[in-house]
């Protein structure tokens, strides 16, 4: 694939370039930097990539001229406004896959409204990680797949909860207090964590039934 990245030599840009290389090692990766210094640094850091020096306006023209060859465009400059301008142009000229990396998570909706369907939010892991580490009980949303179909939730009960057999679209995995894992779970107790992986709606229904079962006395 021909992947074009406007990196801006940001931390997210560097990480994105390395990941894109991993995703398609045989592909053509073009890194665009706005200044001579940054393009020189990118050439040293990523010797296997083609590095171009183009300012914002030059890059907009470049996108328009080469849109028919570009498969993926990734915008990870340190300005959401600049990224937005690039993404809008890339969408308008028909680049099949346009991916912005957010600097401010609040701008997600702005990109979504403009028609960008894949948005990378580097801050998305803060909330689930902190909640998983610190929240004593309740439900924690850990992961949602790209198409929002598959989700992974954690559930920390306050007391012993008996679980109904999961639907075919849901998998249970429990981590016991001693660190051991159990796959065929029938009940979870306090200090244990239940992980629920499955189709979004099925997981939601499943967790509703778990919440409803909470407080019911379990024999034994």
């Amino acid at each position: 694939m021909r992947i074009v990245v406007f990196s801006g030599m940001t931390h997210t840009g560097g990480l994105a370039v390395a990941t894109l290389r991993e995703a398609d090692p045989e592909g053509k990766l073009i890194i665009v930097e706005p200044t001579v210094e940054k393009s020189a640094a990118a050439k040293k850091q990523f010797p296997w990539a083609e590095v171009l020096k183009k300012n914002v306006d030059e890059f907009i023209e470049y996108l328009k001229e080469t849109a028919q060859l570009i498969d993926v465009f990734v915008a990870c400059s340190d300005s959401d406004a600049v990224n937005y301008r690039f993404c809008k142009t890339a969408l308008d000229v028909g680049v099949p896959m346009v991916i912005p990396v957010l600097n401010n998570p609040l701008n997600r909706e702005l990109f979504q409204r403009s028609g960008v369907s894949i948005i990378v939010n580097p801050y998305a892991s803060i909330k689930p990680k902190l909640l998983e580490a610190l929240k004593a009980d309740g439900e924690i949303s850990l992961y949602e797949s790209l198409n929002s179909q598959i989700v992974l939730h954690a559930y920390k009960p306050t007391s012993r909860v008996k679980l109904e057999s999961p639907e075919g679209e849901v998998c249970f995995l429990a981590v016991k207090a001693d660190g051991s894992t159990v796959s065929k779970v029938r009940e979870v107790d306090k200090n244990e964590v239940l992980y629920v992986l499955g189709v979004k709606d099925a997981v939601r229904r499943c967790l509703e039934s778990v919440r409803a079962a909470r407080g019911k006395r379990v024999s034994g």
Partner: protein
Amino acid sequence: MPLEGVWKVLELPVGSEFLVRVVTAVVVLAVFLAAGHYMPSWLLSRLKHVETGFIQKIGTTISIFLYVIGIVAALSVLSLSYAVIEIIFVLVVIGLLIAFRDTLANAVGEVYIRLRTPFSEGEWVKIGDLEGRVASINTFDVELATPHGERILVPNSLFLRGVFVKKPGMAGSIVEAYFSLRGVTIEEARKALKETLKTIRPELSGEPKLRNVERENDYVRVTVMLPLLNVLKAKQLVNRAVIQLRRKGYEAEAL
């Protein structure tokens, strides 16, 4: 009556009071219909920075408002009985329904798209020969951004009538390309194509495959599967492959 007075001042033949009223009503209606037809575009022509769909909405609203005012004014000039006005109203409504059937179908199409949400902005759709990313969903049309950079307005009613395909993007298309090499054996052709395809591999989204290699008289015809994300570059890649083959001394052509 003032209308008759005007008639007499102009020295025009006066058949009856009703005739005067009918003529006046027709003139009033014609003026408002003309205003409703031409005025919105004239008024809104300066708003070039506003979204096209929104301009259309405003224009249609002004037109309908002027048409209604014209009809009411014409009826008031006629001073008809209530029953006659009702009959005329029904006929006008039927007329409007027939005249604006496409517009209404498009508006209903928007309701379908908004409520059923078969696709949303940013998604890739194909309806008939048209294909593109949904740029905006408007009252009467859906704006598609095509892979060629064009903007196409597809009437909403088409999505009610026709079958459309929703795609995750242009992703995942496999393009078949045909090459013909002259004066070589099947094995030579296979080897040459494999080597050439290596040079265009960085532009592909996966490994290219030789699907079929067969001999036809003095030619060897090779069918190649090219996995592409951006299908628009297929032709360019095929041409590049042909140039590579010719540089190696093969008499190659893309079919």
